[in-house]
Symmetry: C2
């Protein structure tokens, strides 16, 4: 976007590469405090059961046990991002297998785990709700009898087992479908996917003698953790300080709290530091996972390929607690029309409590599930009309000035370039046709919401410290933000140090989620840097005896008189003077509150949507070349091309890393990953039984095409890239399988059995 | 000052009382990091010597030694608050006995100390400068040959061994002295006093794999430590994060760096954490101490008791490095006229490098030394005129509208009330006359300078976190600032949590020094809280559908409509809404830069003064009842009364604590404490040989009279109280000895030998 950039646009190794390569990065597992205890959890063996009583005597009697807590030991407090429905330890009822019903702190982990096994809990088993369909049956048992009385952050449409119900409607979809030349329809099902971050969830809490708690944890937001823990324990937020060590991946499951309330409760009860890290099985069973979706969709088109209508109906499994789920439902509906001009669209969905672990945020936030339905329907229309699927997408793509579903503005849009970029890079036209299984899909995704801050400090010696409160979960945001800060102040990146998030000292940052850090935090960084620049110029103006307006920043940390190359002064001298004349470092601060409306009430009728303000869009077009073994039915991606519009690639290497990682994670979602419940118990909570693709399963080439349609108010034009790359993948692979075999699958994952079934005409329409 | 205050004015136990009582407070000695090494120092055996070379082989060969560093291993960097003259390890020359010439890091402290002893350093001894008089002799050896080329933060008058020369003059002092009815004159000498904080100096540094350093240390300012360490090692400041554990007293010697550069250098060299804590002997020998003063003073008065002129000449021993000393000189001169109207005054002083440890800031900052001269002269005038010494002081006390010496404004002045308060409390009139030795003295002292910030955050649940960057060194500033914040927001003090200082996350705060935290940081807290109030009212106005201007804060964390008791809303509800509507907590920030001029060029001629902006004054009048044993000459304070004008006592219990502690420390300075050099070597660096008064030496009653003459812009009227209490003590005791015995002493400490000498006519005028 700007040929003069010198820090932004550089493909830099991450700032923390050295400590990671040397094995010196400190994760939660590496931390210890003097006198530290270790925690363990006793999980419920039942999916739904009333808790009649506890016998903790044997556990307490075990040598080395410091403390046993059950739900009876904690007050009546509940947490939740949208609905306050979740106690830190099951209280009165257990609502899923594995839900903590008691926790133990002991001198070592083995003793803690042994003690947890010695706790006797008396249950009365209750009928369980194991699917959303069961949950909305008229006589269904209630997962939350007191739902009506729970505090809701947004006005919610809910009742019975329905935690949230949302509708978005534009135009007259039934009339438009009736008038369409062709209509495709289908029912789709996607599987629950586990996050499987390389680092399981864990936390360490320490209480000082004044009762204030310091909490280190694997997390995506020190601020959300602070709010969650405090509301779930009835602790004033000012009494809890949240910090973060390095984090080994998040993907959404470390955004809201996991075990943090448990370690804080144990630390408060014992007065000693307590650490608890989940083993892999527990991490599978009790953290959170991607929502399984049931989707019914109809899309209508004219014979010339113009899309005219889409109707979407979704049913989401919420699991036992609300967590981020009302947001996932609402966001999936907002995305259901895809990045296309479709004049008439309607989407309606329900989120239903069941007796499973709480589902929650996972890279894509409902968009990959809904895009699987939408983008396979686009391909079916192309097939019916005999059109090239990329041509059909290009023809209907949103153009400049078009609005998003619901009426929100779209200020930058590189979709057409993504389609042409993927087409060219993949050699689409030449390569199409069996035996090659070339499939494509398009999508858009947002770049953040809510609030974020930045503080930029120029210290006495001219070096710069950036503090944003954003947790780098391994994706490289610290590096990108340092680049943005360096670019704004025209200094080398190494001049900028990045402070670690700290609820006591960092500006508020909602979290590392929703593809938001580069765009929203980056904007705050630029604004804070501009304030620093203004102050630097004012001081320099007094020193150089000229107007601040006539001064400019020059690369390398200098301020000079415009048009006079020799007249300049370094940051060091300006900041030394500022330090003594103005009594401290030069500081710029900014708080960005995202305020672009996602809905225009003049265009759409909306109920129950908890996202009033989102709306900066990244775009993608993905092509996958899929080979299908016609004996086993096993589908494998040979090669992939992902074209993404990121506005501006702040760190192109990191952008490519995001795209490659997202492709492989999407491929797992498409082909192999599925959490399977046997009754109420998760049957495959191990890496042996739950198949995450490895490098060996990855295509030999994942080619990234970076498109830069600059967002007008983005930092140097940038938009988010954390999630967009996964959204298109299942649909592109499904379309590739269809291209290779003629078989259309409507259920994820597309396992060899299901592919073979579809190839032999069995199908498995849900 | 304000009958409605509910948080300010309460005598609260300090917030951290519980952790201290339980022994759980964490000081630097309590901290450890995995893989931590221990440091030790090899000090110079010579007061002044050229370093010809090192042999470190034996030290390096000792098992367990990780690193040995000498001045040759570090670059040519120097630190200093006013003059950049001090290398972190002696380089080329050693300038005082004990100065670090090499440092070692080893697996344990014993090994490190053994290794330090194994280092061979070849020296060429040089003639040493052991007194300021020697230093200004024409043929004196130079302590710093390169003084002219050193960087000076302020334009300094210096040269030879003179580090700084300062003059302040108002009126025509010689003419006024010539016209006076009586003139008293004298020469005074005060001894070097050691700080003897209960916690010796220490630090712990850890380097992450990216090269960024975290430094915990016993300090009075994380920001000054950051600047000192970085300039002395050539490290960019953005690469160093400074934190503070609890601090066991400072009194000035922990304001600038002590061993912090050494541990950072060792940590950078080894890549491992390094901790170094001085033993008591090292803490005496190499940190810093109160400057010994030589003072010549003349004071002239008219027969009616009107003071008309004062001329002051001082000579300060700087020690080997500049540190805060140019400030101490300048400040002592500004204080030399005392809190009186004296139309003609002149003060001139020189600060002279010697081959002793660097002297530096110590509670009172030169004022107790100069007040010893000035306030004993006031008593001599009263004696000569046959006036009551308190009457003489009251007659000449500064009044409303009067200016300070140099021309600075004095906006609040409770001196007259202090005099009357002390008079009444001590029963002065009835008690005067032998055998009672009733002595009095008055003084004023400033309340801070330079810059300070505050951030007040109202979290989602309405609890409040205050972050100021001010280090509580044990005096209770965290509690006072929490009270100020609570008062400004009308919430209970326990609702406010205080964040620990952190250069990454705290607003800039110059330091806990110059009696500045309550006044300057307190002002910033009030201003930040006012911003919070404004935002709370704006949100509440929208919620209650009324104008923000019609709303008021109500005690307990509520906002209500003026005149309508029932219409109100809690902080919790407002901040929850703010969190979602505005996307984050309600935050108020403020940076206060002290800007009241200390000098009015129309009134005074000033050269070399590095304090352009100070000028909020606390006042005191102290009365001591001294008993002198006429056989041994031992003076003991039987009882004392200290009346202080603190503007407003935020925490009266803490104010009393400051006054009592200051009295006892001043009594040690007056009667027993003296660092004695034998040639260049400190002869009494132990608590056995250096006599600090204990509880048993203290008078059975130290009575505090709190006077509140509110400072117009102070937080709820408050001014500083950290230092004022010590300033008057030596003079009050000296005046008490004179009242009891007729003997006038002009040298501190007033040991039994010196008292006996003076009683028997020997005198010891220096």
């Amino acid at each position: 976007m700007n040929a003069a950039t010198q820090a932004v646009g550089l493909g830099l190794a991450r700032l923390e590469t050295r400590e990671k390569v040397l094995g010196r990065a400190q994760y939660i597992a590496d931390l210890a405090r003097p006198g530290m205890l270790h925690g363990a959890i006793l999980g419920s063996p039942h999916a739904h059961a009333r808790i009649l009583g506890y016998d903790t005597a044997a556990a307490r009697a075990l040598p080395g046990v410091a403390c046993v807590l059950t739900g009876d030991d904690l007050g009546d407090h509940r947490m939740g991002a949208f609905i306050k429905d979740e106690p830190p330890i099951a209280k009165g009822k257990a609502r899923y297998v594995g839900e903590p019903v008691a926790v133990v702190a002991a001198e070592d982990e083995a003793t803690a785990r042994q003690a947890a096994r010695l706790i006797e809990v008396r249950y009365e088993e209750l009928p369980a709700v194991l699917s959303p369909e069961d949950g909305i049956a008229p006589d269904a048992p209630l997962v939350h009898e007191d739902l009506a009385s729970y505090f809701k952050v947004f006005p919610a449409v809910c009742g019975g087992n329905v935690a949230s119900e949302t509708t978005i409607a534009e135009g007259d979809v039934e009339a438009a479908l009736a008038a369409a030349d062709i209509v495709v329809e289908g029912e789709y099902a996607t599987a629950p996917q586990a996050h499987v971050a390389i680092e399981p969830c864990g936390a360490l809490a320490e209480v000082d003698a004044g009762g204030r708690v310091t909490l280190w944890s694997a997390n995506q937001s020190v601020f959300r953790v602070q709010a969650n823990v405090c509301e779930s324990l009835g602790l004033p937020m000012g009494r809890l300080r949240c910090l973060t060590p390095r984090v080994g991946g998040g993907f959404g499951n470390k955004m809201e709290a996991h075990v943090q309330p448990l370690v804080v409760a144990l630390a408060l009860a014992t007065g000693r530091p307590v650490k608890l890290i989940l083993n892999r099985e527990e991490d599978f069973e009790i953290v959170r996972a991607r929502h399984p979706f049931k989707v019914r969709m109809r899309t209508g088109a004219r014979r010339d390929g113009t899309l005219v209508a889409r109707d979407t109906e979704v049913l989401l499994d919420c699991g036992a607690y609300g967590d981020d789920s009302p947001g996932v439902l609402g966001y999936a509906l907002l995305m259901s029309r895809g990045p296309y001009r479709i004049a008439h669209a309607c989407a309606h969905g329900r989120l239903v409590y069941t007796n499973k672990l709480r589902f929650g945020a996972f890279r894509g936030f409902g968009n990959p599930q809904i895009a699987f339905a939408g983008e396979t329907q686009i391909d079916r229309i192309a097939e019916r009309l005999g059109m090239d699927p990329l041509d059909l997408r290009a023809r209907n793509a949103l153009r400049d000035g078009d609005r998003w579903f619901g009426g929100g503005e779209v200020l930058s849009n590189g979709l057409a370039q993504c389609i042409e970029g993927a087409r060219a890079a993949s050699g689409w036209t030449a390569r199409r046709g069996a035996p090659n299984g070339l499939g494509a899909a398009c999508a858009a995704h947002i770049s953040g919401l809510l609030a974020t801050g930045a503080i930029v400090r120029v210290l006495e010696d001219g070096s710069i410290v950036l503090n944003t409160g954003a947790v780098d979960i391994g994706q490289g945001s610290d590096t990108a933000l340092a680049q943005i800060c360096a670019e704004a102040l025209k200094v080398p990146v190494e001049r900028v140090s990045v402070a670690s998030p700290d609820t006591d000292g960092s500006p508020y940052n909602w979290g590392t989620t929703a593809s938001r850090v580069t765009y929203t935090t980056g904007r705050a960084v630029v604004a804070a840097a501009r304030e620093v620049e203004r102050k630097l110029r004012e001081h320099a103006g007094e020193m150089l005896e000229c107007s601040a307006d006539d001064l400019e920043l020059r690369w390398g940390g200098r301020i000079g008189l415009k048009g006079v190359p020799d007249k300049e002064i370094s940051f060091l001298h300006v900041s030394l003077r500022a330090h003594w004349a103005a009594g401290g470092p030069i500081v710029g601060t900014n708080t960005l509150v995202f305020d672009r409306a996602s809905v225009d009430p003049k265009r759409a009728v909306v109920t129950g949507l908890p996202f009033p303000r989102i709306g900066v869009f990244s775009f993608a077009c993905t092509v996958a070349d899929v080979a299908v073994d016609d004996v086993t039915g096993k589908a494998a991606v040979r090669e992939a091309w992902s074209a993404v519009d990121v506005g501006k690639a702040i760190n192109p290497g990191a952008v490519e890393g995001q795209m490659e990682g997202a492709f492989v994670q999407g491929m797992g979602f498409a082909l192999t990953e599925e959490m399977v419940w046997d009754g109420g118990r998760l049957a495959n909570p191990t890496l042996a039984d739950y198949k995450v693709p490895t490098t060996l399963d990855s295509p030999h080439g994942i080619h990234t095409v970076i498109v830069e349609a600059p967002e007008p108010d983005g930092p140097f034009g940038a938009k988010g890239v954390g999630e967009i790359g996964i959204v298109t993948v299942p649909a592109a692979i499904a379309n590739g399988i269809a291209a290779a075999t003629g078989a259309r699958l409507d259920r994820l994952p597309m396992t060899p059995e299901r592919v073979l079934d579809a190839m032999t005409g069995g199908g498995d329409a849900s």
